[in-house]
Every structure is written in C-alpha cells, then in structure tokens.
C-alpha cells in the first residue's frame, strides 16, 4: 500500500460540485463514482448528469433524499445510460424523468459492489486502489462547521446521513487520513474536500462502502 494516493493525481476525478439546497448528496456521490470509473477505463473525464439520477432513480426521493445503494441498484437493473451533465443539467429540484433513445450516447454500469469495511480500513484503502473512488455514507452533522484539518472527533458511526466520495488517502503524517470529496461547493472545507482520520471508523466512514464497475 503506498503511503499516499489520490485519484485526483491520475486526473480521473471531476471538479467538486455544489448540491445547493437539494438533498441529493447520494446522487452526486454515485455520479462522481461513475465519472471516475469511465475515466479510469480511458474515456475522457466528463461531468455526467446528476439531475438524471435525481429525476429517474424511482427508488429514491430526489432532492428529498436517497441512498447510494438504491441508486446503484437502479443503474444496474435498468442499465440506464447516464448522459452528460450539459445535456441534462442540475436544477436544484426534482423534475420529471427525461428519457433518451437507445442510440443516444451515455454511460451505463456493469456492476457494483458494496461492503462494510469497519475494522478493515487498510483493506478499504486497497479497495480504493483497485476499484477507484469509493462511495461512502458518513455522519456529517459536525461538518456544518468544518473549515479544514483532519476530522477525528465530533461525529459517530451508526448515525450516517450524508453520501460522499473518497478519492484518496494520506498516511505520510502522524495522523493518516482519507481524502473525501464533498458536494457542497469548493468554498467548503479544503477546496471542497474533507480530511477524515483513517482507522477507528470515524464518522462511520467504513460502514457503507460501495464501488462501481463499468
């Protein structure tokens, strides 16, 4: 395991986005994972449509909430092709699902995996290297006030409420940490990212971990 790794350095992570007042973190994290999965396969790094997932993932509640697992299940079962963000832009509210013809270019998934890595964060780091950025659900209550540094306290496992995307980790310092892409804009945290201590399942970061395959 390298002491430091970040998929951003491989240019396979899109820019931090802003969900504004839409509770669609689950869609942002899932779409971010699909974007990175295609870029890892050699496709151009493209922003895909979060709005399409918000509107069309019938087993979720759009801007009123949802879970990454339901979104991945929907993507896998329906083989829906995600279109580019520019074709189906984010509008900060639920809308009617737009359908595209089968010939319309888009990005579907082949499969996804989901595991509980609590107590196994080194294995989780290996999974990050092997499978790409990981979608996780964390307790982000104290993240309301986060400015920077390594989150080590003030959150708990078992109370997760926010979906994000882990893009890397850094074990070079005395406090190893996960590098976590959020969807609250780049002015939040460390250029839109949070650093969460590795080990100890801080904020429940290892409880619900999923990866996507394309």
């Amino acid at each position: 395991l390298p002491v430091k790794f970040d998929w951003r350095d491989k240019h396979v992570v899109t820019q931090v986005r802003n969900q504004h007042m839409c509770g669609g973190c689950w869609a942002f994290s899932v779409v971010g994972a699909v974007e990175s999965a295609y870029a890892r396969k050699g496709q151009p790094l493209e922003e895909l449509s979060v709005q399409q997932v918000i509107d069309c993932s019938y087993n979720n509640y759009g801007c009123n909430g949802g879970t990454p697992s339901s979104a991945f299940t929907w993507l896998n079962k329906t083989q829906v092709k995600l279109v580019k963000d520019s074709e189906y832009p984010f509008k900060v509210q639920n809308g009617l699902c737009r359908y595209f013809s089968d010939s319309h270019p888009g990005y579907s998934i082949k499969d996804y995996s989901a595991f509980d890595f609590s107590g196994q964060e080194d294995e989780m780091a290996k999974a990050l290297l092997n499978f790409g950025p990981l979608v996780v659900v964390v307790d982000a209550m104290s993240w309301q006030d986060y400015l920077g540094g390594i989150i080590q306290h003030h959150c708990s496992s078992g109370e997760a409420n926010h979906a994000v995307l882990i893009t890397g980790f850094d074990k070079t310092g005395s406090t190893p940490y996960w590098i976590v892409r959020n969807s609250w804009g780049s002015s939040w945290g460390v250029d839109g990212y949070a650093h969460v201590k590795m080990g100890g399942n801080i904020c429940g970061i290892a409880d619900s971990v999923s990866a996507v395959f394309v």
């Binding site: 969900q19 007042m21 509770g23 669609g24 973190c25 689950w26 509640y61 801007c63 009123n64 909430g65 949802g66 879970t67 990454p68 697992s69 339901s70 989901a114 595991f115 509980d116 890595f117 609590s118 196994q120 294995e123 989780m124 999974a127 659900v137 982000a140 209550m141 104290s142 309301q144 006030d145 986060y146 400015l147 920077g148 540094g149 390594i150 989150i151 080590q152 306290h153 003030h154 997760a160 409420n161 926010h162 979906a163 310092g173 005395s174 406090t175 609250w184 804009g185 002015s187 939040w188 650093h195 429940g204 409880d207 619900s208 971990v209 999923s210």
Partner: protein
C-alpha cells in the same frame, strides 16, 4: 450582523433576519466548543464560519443530510496462503 463573515452565503428564502442572526450566534458558540475540546492535537479539524453558519443545526440536517447508510455484508478478507502453496 449580515455584513460579517459569511454574509455572501446567507440562504435565500423566507427566513427572518432574526432567525439567521440567532443561528449565527449559535454557530459561534458551537465553533468555540468544537475547537476547545482537543486543542493540542496535531492537525485536528478546525471549525468556524462558513456558508452554513446562518443555518440552525436542524435546518442544516433537514436540507443537506438526506442520505442514510445501507446494511452491507462485511468485506471478506482473503486468508493468507501458506508459503508452501505459493508457486
């Protein structure tokens, strides 16, 4: 004071100025508390004014924390193979 730090991030909508001010005051108290508990710890997180400081915690939770975890199986770690079986 709406012209203070974070003024650019005041959410639009029908929230009263009084409510925003109350939320901001509560945020300042919360930041002080969060920053006071582990002051000597290396690289520990810092908490302060950002775009969410004009929201009460319950408002923040209702707007932004709209996901929940799913129960997944534990990751199966491969048992290490004895070296005699490694070609």
């Amino acid at each position: 004071d709406n012209k203070g730090p974070g003024a650019a991030f005041i959410p639009s909508g029908p929230r009263s100025r009084e409510r925003q001010t109350a939320a901001f005051r509560e945020s300042l108290k919360r930041h002080h508390y969060l920053n006071s508990l582990f002051p000597g710890e290396n690289y520990t997180a810092v908490y302060g004014v950002n775009q969410f400081s004009y929201l009460l915690p319950e408002e923040f939770k209702a707007i932004y924390l709209r996901s929940k975890p799913s129960k997944y199986p534990r990751y199966p770690v491969e048992a290490p193979k004895p070296t005699s079986s490694v070609p």
